[in-house]
C-alpha cells in the first residue's frame, strides 16, 4: 500500500513543478484553444451535416479539438518529457529510492490526466461561450468514458513511444512526425469526406479517429441516446492495452546509448 501513497505524493510534486513554470503551463492550455479559434475563424460559419440534421462547423471543431487536446496532453507530453527526464538521470535517480518505478510513472500519468481533464473542460466551455456549441448533458457520461479510455490509451502509447526515442532532442521531432499526419487523416483538423478511400481506411486503423468519432457523437446536439460509441471506444482501449504492454516490455530507465 505504501507504494500507492508514495505515488500519490509524487503527483503533488509533479503538479507543483508544472505550475512553477508559468510560460510552459500557459501554452499547454493556450495551444489547443488557439487551434479552436483558428479553425472556427476559417470554417466556423459553414454548415455541416451530422447524423440527425445540420449544424454549424463549430459543433464539429469542439470535440475534434478536444481529441487533439487529449492526444497532446497525454501522448505528446509523455513521449517528449519522459525521455528528457531519462536523459537528465532523473528516472535513474528515482529508481534508486523506495518509490516504485510504476509509482513514478503512475504519478506522471495522473498529472497528465489532470491536465487533460482541465483542457477538455476548457475547450468545451470556450466552444459554448464563443461558438454556441451545446455542452453535453445527457451524453456527459459518454464524454467522460471517452476521455478516460482515451487518456489511458494515449498515456500508454506515449510511454511505449519513449522506447523508440533515442534521446530527448529527438523527442519532439519524432512525436510531431508521428502525430501530425495522424491527426490529418483522422478527421480531427479537417473532415476527409473527399479524401481517397484508402486514406480514410488507414485513419481507421489508428486510435485517434475512433476517439474523435466517439466524442463527435457525444457532442452531436441531435443525438437522443446516451451517446456511448462502444465500437470506437473498444478500438481505442485495445490500442491502450497494446501500448501498455509495449511500455512495460521496452521502457528504459537509463539514457539510450
Amino acid at each position: 500500500m505504501s507504494g500507492v501513497r508514495l505515488a500519490a505524493r509524487q503527483v503533488l510534486y509533479e503538479n507543483r513543478a508544472f505550475w512553477r513554470n508559468p510560460p510552459a503551463a500557459f501554452f499547454t492550455f493556450a495551444f489547443p484553444l488557439l487551434f479552436l479559434v483558428i479553425f472556427n475563424m476559417l470554417f466556423g460559419n459553414e454548415t455541416i451535416r451530422v447524423p440527425g440534421g445540420e449544424t454549424s462547423a463549430s459543433t464539429f471543431f469542439v470535440p475534434a479539438i478536444a481529441t487533439f487536446a487529449i492526444v497532446n496532453a497525454t501522448f505528446s507530453n509523455l513521449a517528449t518529457s519522459v525521455p528528457f527526464a531519462r536523459d537528465q538521470g532523473l528516472l535513474k535517480r528515482y529508481r534508486g529510492t523506495p518509490l516504485p518505478g510504476w509509482g513514478y510513472l503512475t504519478a506522471r500519468v495522473a498529472h497528465a490526466v489532470v491536465v487533460t481533464i482541465l483542457l477538455v473542460a476548457l475547450v468545451t466551455a470556450f466552444g459554448a461561450l464563443f461558438y454556441g456549441v451545446d455542452v453535453p448533458t445527457n451524453t456527459l457520461p459518454a464524454v467522460l468514458v471517452a476521455l478516460a479510455v482515451g487518456a489511458f490509451a494515449f498515456c500508454s502509447l506515449g510511454l511505449a513511444m519513449t522506447a523508440v526515442i533515442p534521446n530527448a532532442d529527438a523527442g519532439p521531432a519524432i512525436v510531431n512526425a508521428v502525430i501530425l499526419p495522424l491527426l490529418f487523416i483522422s478527421d480531427v483538423f479537417i473532415q476527409t469526406d473527399q479524401a481517397p478511400e484508402w486514406v480514410s481506411t488507414l485513419g481507421s486503423v489508428f486510435p485517434v479517429k475512433h476517439l474523435s468519432e466517439a466524442l463527435q457523437t457525444a457532442f452531436n446536439p441531435f443525438h437522443t441516446g446516451a451517446g456511448f460509441e462502444w465500437g470506437h471506444i473498444g478500438i481505442v482501449a485495445v490500442w491502450g492495452v497494446v501500448g501498455l504492454f509495449l511500455a512495460m516490455r521496452f521502457f528504459s530507465w537509463e539514457p539510450r546509448t
Binding site: 510534486y13 512553477r20 538521470g89 535517480r93 529508481r95 523506495p98 518509490l99
Partner: protein, 297 residues
Amino acid sequence: MGEAAIEVRDLRKSYGDVEAVAGIDLTVARGEVVALLGPNGAGKTTTVEILEGHRDRDGGEVSVLGHDPADRSLDLRKRIGIVLQTTGVEPYLTIAETVEQFRGLYPSPRSLDEVLEAVGLTDLRDRRVKRLSGGQQRRLDVAVGLAGDPDLLFLDEPTTGFDPSARRDAWDMILNLRSLGKTVLLTTHYMDEAQSLADRVAIIVRGRIVAEGPPAILTGRDRHATISFRDSGDGLPVEVGEAEVEGGMVRIRTEEPTRVLHALTSWATARGEELPELSVARPSLEDVYLELTRDPT
C-alpha cells in the same frame, strides 16, 4: 558476513567483448569510508552501479547490507543513498522542496535542517534548483542521497568538475559524513581525494583491484625514496648509483636513501659545495598509482 556493509566476491561484468569488471573482491566494513580509485574506464562506475542495483552482473557474489542488489528489494532501497555521476532534479522546485520530496520517500528520513546543514546549503534553501551553480547542484545531489538517512552512501565521482575551493568544501562535507558514522563507498580519479577522505583505497585498473589498503600502507609498500637536487654539472660520486637528470634536476631513486645521502653529502662537503634544492621524498599515492596503472607494454 553480517558485520560487513558490502561483500563482493569475484564480481564480473562484460559489455560485448570488453570485460569491464574482471573479478573484483571487495569488503567494506560498517562505518568505513572506502574509495575506488582508478583511471576513466577502469570499471569503477560499473562496479558501484552493480552494488546499487542499477546494473546486472555476469558473475560473482554480491551482498549489500545483507541483500543481493540484483533483487532490487524495497528494504535495501530504504537503507542506501545513491549519488550518481550524472543525475537530475526538477529544475523549478526549491532546494528545500527537493530535499522534502525525497525525504518523503523514506520511512525514517533525516531532518531537513540536518540534511541542508550537512551539505552546506542552509542559506540557499529557498533558491530554485535551476539557479544553482554546478557545485551547488552537486551538493544538492548529495543532500538528496542523504535525505533518507541511509546506512550506506554511494558517491560516484562526487567532485569531478569542481574548482579547488568547491572540492575542499565537498571534502569537508564527506568528512562530516564519516563523523556521522555513515558507510561510504566513493569513486574518484583524484589521488589526493582518495588520500584525504578514505580509510581504505582500492585501486582499480582494467576491471581488477591491483592494490588495496589504507593510503599510508599503500604508499609504505614502496620502500623507494627519491633524492633530488639542482645539477651543478660537476658529475656525481660513483657510490650513488644510477641517476637521471631532467630539467636541470638530478634525481636518484633508491631503496637505501641513508647510504646514498651520506655518500652525496660527504662528496659535496669535501668539495666545499652545497647541493642546491636538496630534498628526499617518499612516494606519494600518486606515484604508487602511476606505477600500478602504467600500461604493461
